[in-house]
Symmetry: C2
């Protein structure tokens, strides 16, 4: 069985055809423009591939409640050309196959649990720190959804006493995303993350905000593994800082061996599927139903 | 079928016998002392009741992973007499019936979803604000567990600029529980919550901390209903303050109609089962498996 998989991101769409074993047999990338430009290219790619179903891990917010009339429709996204765009409906109509949609981060949590760095556990939190901050959870075979999908990047963290940057979030100013996503780093320091790679002060501050968030996620969700990806996390020096600060903030309250000095390196980890977590997650999403 | 139900709390145990319809046919309450004193009374109560199974909603932390060798055993609880006490194992051995254990707040989330103020939705967060602050989540027929059960009361919130109270939590000082549970209110203001009922400043501060927590829970879990109970919430004037502040903090980012001025009164609500949420949850826990 050949399965279609789409990682629909704010800057690019990854289109792939894969197998039930998680093997990607063909893949291409196109840039995200107006839906009238992007979507015909997506449909053209899949048209002659003989796929029986298609999975999509999408940027959001998006309605991913299968029972809803607007399942697969984008909502109030900052990508204004895509607001209210029926991504799922358009694919289904054009390709005449079942379409399964969840958020990019929820499907990444799924694929990391199936094939990646959380494949030995049942509960995984996947966080991406890039242009924005988002997270998805895959717990005991279900992604976490309720009212809508989570928007974990918008929690409040305590400001570092030496940081007076006002934050970039148009809704909340200095929420986690407003203080710690890529654009906040660039605007606060006036340089790109890459140019700041050797400035320890930058990454210590960044790690403080991310560790606060992870500590809250641990108290609220209690995942057995935390996978962190995204452009900002290419700065690998962040990992030891974050781990150390999470241990310090938990202060021994959570007694699991996973969150001790001995095992924390295996608890807070980069993605195992590197840049394919999204597209493989979309593949797995379509396989499951 | 008669089912045993226990709400095992830090100050009292509620013991009940009920039916599959959620009816409690007999109930008694005993105080929580040393297990050597309390447990023989528990066993004596159930011995001649002809129950076929028993459900327990317990204080924690407790191992509630059914696959674990120490399922039903208390962990590093502040009630030192109960540390490492095999609550589930003791009941099973003495009464020779299957025993099902989860946290007090997880089972309260279950019973509110089955019979209480969340019976029209699939995803419910139950929070108790009393001697401590705890929360449980029941999402699509599962309670939320991973590494362990959540410990949502220990998240960090931003300090109110006019509050310099250091907090009561022995692990984190000024985490949510340290700033906003009953003992923190009493110690900060030098009076009991009841005596402070008319002091608006007290409840505005309390609502600020609780609203911050609820906002974080909404971003991370996205529940369709939030039920808040516990001793501190007997101060009903807290509800309008909390609702208003949550709307202000979300600032329109979550677009569901549930979190709008029009519907927030039905979104953040007191328990429907009042003081029976725990024991009825224990009953439901035993019925489900």
């Amino acid at each position: 069985m050949r399965i279609g998989a789409i990682e629909a991101g704010g800057t690019k769409f990854v289109l792939a055809v894969g197998t039930e074993q998680g093997e990607i047999v063909e893949k291409t990338t196109i840039s995200t423009e107006h839906p009238d430009i992007t979507m015909p290219k997506v449909i053209e790619f899949f048209e002659d591939k003989g796929i029986s179903r298609i999975g999509v891990g999408s940027f959001g917010p998006i309605d991913c409640n299968e029972m809803s009339a607007s399942y697969g429709t984008l909502q109030k996204t900052p990508k204004t050309d895509w607001v209210d765009y029926p991504l799922g409906g358009t694919l289904k109509e054009a390709l005449d196959v079942p379409v399964f949609i969840d958020t990019d981060v929820n499907v990444a949590a799924m694929s990391e649990t199936k094939w990646g760095n959380a494949r030995d556990v049942d509960t995984c939190l996947y966080i991406t720190v890039g242009t924005g901050i988002g997270a998805g959870a895959y717990f005991h075979g279900q992604t976490l959804t309720g009212l809508s999908h989570p928007e974990m990047g918008h929690i409040k963290v305590r400001r570092h006493p030496n940081d007076d940057y006002e934050g970039t979030c148009p809704y909340h100013g200095d929420c986690l995303e407003g203080l710690a996503a890529g654009p906040a780093i660039e605007k606060r320091w006036g340089k790109s993350a890459k140019e700041l790679a050797d400035n320890e002060q930058v990454w210590e501050l960044e790690a403080d905000y991310l560790a606060q968030a992870l500590t809250n996620y641990i108290y609220i969700l209690s995942p057995e593994r935390i996978v962190i990806g995204g452009g900002v996390m290419k700065q690998q020096q962040l990992f030891p800082f974050i781990r150390e600060k999470v241990l310090h903030m938990l202060n021994g309250y959570v007694t699991s061996p996973y969150v001790t000095e001995r095992e924390i390196d295996q608890y807070i980890v980069p993605p195992g599927l590197t840049d394919e977590a999204g597209v493989k997650g979309a593949l797995y999403l379509a396989m499951r139903d």
